[in-house]
């Protein structure tokens, strides 16, 4: 497959760019932050995103979605990254939709997928239990109980956990890891929102004797590890796209600044010390773009090597976003450290999104293992 966007994808990119620039620019992010908004995002914006087909980007048309695939989802996430848009896109439209498409029963898909596409139900993936991403290190237990299971354990870094209607919980059963769809309001579920450096929603979720039905198993008992990897890979590839947007916007903003700011009687962009760093950064952003597009295409094509491309993209895009935003702050000088300027927001988001579902170290290790070393 050629590493270029199809005409349809180029239209989706233009539509997403225009939508988020108008409806959810960095100024909107700042406003929500300053208001200490309890929801953490704008529900009206989420409704509009559903109308645009963004919420249903991965939901098949048969279930009321747009069925556009991962490249399209990545393009939307890239626009989100450029604009720092707050929304449940990742947790609901990407992670939960991928989970249900890949692992849901006919009944589960019919029930939940249309609600994802319409934006009416929010999901959260409750997988991580450690501060450093280690998705298979799960201590939460699911013991057989009645005609279902009883869940006990603690989950951390549950994105959008405090607003979710339904949690996707990874727990240990006798024969491995199993995923469960859990009503967030079920007795025994306690959710505590944590405020993070990038203002994204995350929560600590404690499960105490939470009773779930056998019909709420997602992807078969004991079959959760492989499914969890697929869900995470969908999220990682789209996070790589968001990180690409963060990089590109940091880079563009910084280049503009280099062309405006004067010191020593000349534009600082004329100084070779800055020019070479900017030119190097340009190359790095292009590399992140290539790796990200390839990963998204690999997911769309269902390639066996998709996990390798995903880890490549997440590692590279994460490192580049850190570099681009760090260099952005440095090249802005003093004002780059001020809250008035947006560049600091990008540095915070690069750090958080880079950490989410594995940083460059995690994915470098995974890539090396997949390649046999």
């Amino acid at each position: 497959m050629a590493l270029v966007l199809t005409e349809e994808q180029a239209m989706i990119r233009d539509a997403a760019d225009g939508f988020f620039r108008d409806a959810a620019p960095p100024a909107a992010f700042r406003k929500l932050r300053d208001a200490k908004d309890a929801t953490g995002f704008d529900r009206d914006l989420w409704r509009q995103m559903a109308e645009q087909g963004f919420a249903g980007v991965l939901v098949p048309e048969a279930h009321g979605g747009a069925g556009l695939g991962f490249v399209a989802a990545g393009l939307i996430q890239e626009a989100v990254g450029r604009n720092l848009t707050l929304s449940p896109l990742l947790s609901t439209a990407i992670l939960a939709a991928s989970a249900l498409v890949a692992g849901g029963t006919e009944e589960q898909r019919a029930q939940y997928l249309p609600q994802i596409a319409s934006g009416e139900r929010l999901f959260a993936l409750a997988a991580d239990e450690q501060a450093r991403h280690a998705p298979h290190a799960i201590a939460t237990t699911a013991e057989a109980s009645g005609n279902g299971f009883k869940l006990n354990g603690c989950k951390t870094f549950v994105l959008d956990g405090h607003v979710a209607d339904t949690l996707i919980v990874a727990a240990r059963t006798d024969d491995g890891i199993t995923l469960f769809l859990v009503d967030a309001k079920a007795p025994g579920v306690a959710t505590e929102r944590t405020i993070m450096v990038d203002q994204r929603n995350a929560a600590e979720v404690t499960l105490t004797d939470v009773q779930v039905d056998g019909a709420d198993v997602l992807g078969g008992v004991g079959g959760g590890a492989a499914l969890l990897d697929r869900i995470l890979d969908a999220g990682r590839a789209c996070l790589a796209a968001e990180l690409l947007g963060v990089s590109q916007q940091s880079f563009d903003t910084t280049i503009d600044y280099l062309k405006q700011r004067e010191q020593f009687g000349q534009k600082i962009g004329s100084f070779q010390a800055l020019q070479h760093r900017a030119a190097h950064l340009f190359c790095e952003v292009e590399l992140a773009r290539s790796a990200t597009l390839r990963a998204l295409q690999a997911l769309d094509a269902g390639e066996d090597r998709a996990p390798m491309f995903v880890s490549l993209a997440k590692a590279k895009a994460g490192d580049v976003a850190k570099l681009a935003s760090n260099e952005g702050v440095q090249m802005h000088g003093g004002i780059g450290m001020t809250d008035d300027y947006d560049i600091g927001f990008y540095m915070k988001r690069a750090r958080a999104a880079g950490e989410t579902f594995g940083d460059a170290g995690f994915h470098g290790d995974r890539l090396a293992r997949l390649m046999g070393y």
Partner: protein, 391 residues
């Protein structure tokens, strides 16, 4: 895939099977395995047979027009040919600065007579070219070159000195930047001349490098008489041609070790040399360095692919040759540093076959100097792509 392309593949496969000698289906192991052609080429029987067969079909330059000795293939057909050659493990029949550098410039700027005279001989490997660009006082500041060419009747008289002329001692002809207008601003006084290295007054002297090899020469011109008809393009407009040619040179150098395809990755070599401890490389610190390198190398390879695909789709990406040159050569140096570490004391050997690694390492250090240093290419990206102001 279309039926005609399918038919072309079948035909090509059969022709390659029939015409590629068995000896030419093994990996290139030493310098003498690379065929450079030229009047004085010392080729083995199979090398000669392979070059002649491919040259006769124009498949040494698949996409050049047939009228100039090329294969006249479309981009898609050329891709098929390349993939069929890979399938067979076939070596490139001809390595040539004529193909990589001069050819594209001749096609764009050469007169019809010049194209007809030179391109077919390049395609068949009959004439080996060298590049007369750098001078002792004109390295990164190439446009300050001083080799002079003065018109005398219908001949130019060339005097001056070039340096870092790759394989000048083995080349038949030179494409050479000369100053024809000494009073014009430095970029506007340069012309592009083609002439025979056997002309009276041309002498070469190899330069011994830190790798022990001498691929580069000093080249001296002492009243060399060159027919005025050998001027390519207009007098005084040689800098445009020089820059155009450099973009091809940079793409070539940047891509050199990534287009090869079949070459082992650092991790494969490390796994063989160092061995695994369970599922992971026995040296965990080196493993981290290697995976960081391979992430970049892989992302770079994908970027080269994307650039090609975008060009095919008519989406130009400006000054990319500088990006490919800069990043590709820095990666290759990093690869060689890692291979030195992987080999440990073995890679410090200097003589015999074991000495190859240390010499490759030393050779690679030139990658980010030749054809425009990394710093010059960063300058170009800053100015042409990012449009940052001049100092």
């Amino acid at each position: 895939m279309s039926d005609t392309l399918d038919a072309f593949r079948i035909e090509t496969r059969a022709w390659l099977e029939a015409n590629c000698p068995a000896e030419m289906r093994t990996p290139v192991a030493r310098d003498s395995d690379v065929c450079w052609g030229g009047r004085n080429a010392k080729l083995s029987g199979p090398q000669r047979a392979w070059l002649d067969a491919m040259g006769a079909k124009g498949w040494t330059v698949p996409e050049w027009p047939a009228a100039y000795g090329g294969g006249g293939l479309s981009k898609d057909e050329a891709k098929v040919l390349a993939s069929e050659m890979r399938r067979l493990g076939a070596r490139s029949p001809l390595s040539s600065f004529g193909i990589w550098m001069l050819g594209p410039a001749l096609l764009k700027y050469g007169s019809e007579a010049q194209k007809l005279e030179h391109l077919p001989k390049i395609a068949r490997g009959e004439i080996r070219w060298c590049q007369g660009y750098s001078e002792p006082g004109a390295g990164s500041d190439l446009a300050s070159l001083r080799t002079s060419a003065v018109l005398d009747g219908d001949e130019y008289v060339v005097n001056g000195q070039k340096v870092w002329t790759s394989y000048a001692d083995k080349a038949d002809w030179i494409f050479c930047l000369v100053r024809t207008h000494p009073d014009a601003p430095k970029h506007l006084g340069i012309s592009f001349l083609l002439f025979d290295m056997a002309s009276p007054g041309v002498t070469t002297s190899p330069i011994r490098l830190i790798s022990g090899a001498s691929p580069f020469c000093q080249t001296f011109f002492d009243d060399v008489r060159v027919p005025a008809a050998n001027l390519m393009g207009e007098a005084g407009k040689g800098w445009d041609i020089a820059k155009y040619l450099l973009t091809h040179e940079r793409e070539m150098i940047g891509a050199m070790d990534f287009s090869a395809g079949g070459r082992d990755s650092v991790s494969q070599i490390a796994a063989r040399t160092i061995g695994l401890d369970g599922e992971v490389l026995g040296d965990p610190i080196l493993r981290t360095d290697i995976v960081r390198h391979e992430i970049d190398a892989w992302a770079f390879g994908l970027t080269m692919e994307r650039v090609k695909d975008q060009a095919k789709a008519g989406q130009g990406v400006g000054a990319l040759s500088s990006m490919l040159k800069y990043y590709g050569t820095e990666l290759n140096k990093q690869r060689q540093e890692l291979l030195m570490s992987v080999g440990g004391s073995d890679s410090l050997q200097w003589e015999g076959d074991d000495g190859d690694q240390s010499r490759s390492w030393l050779r690679s250090r030139a990658n980010s100097i030749e054809g425009g240093t990394s710093e010059i290419n960063l300058n170009i990206i800053a100015k042409r792509v990012l449009q940052l102001p001049g100092a």
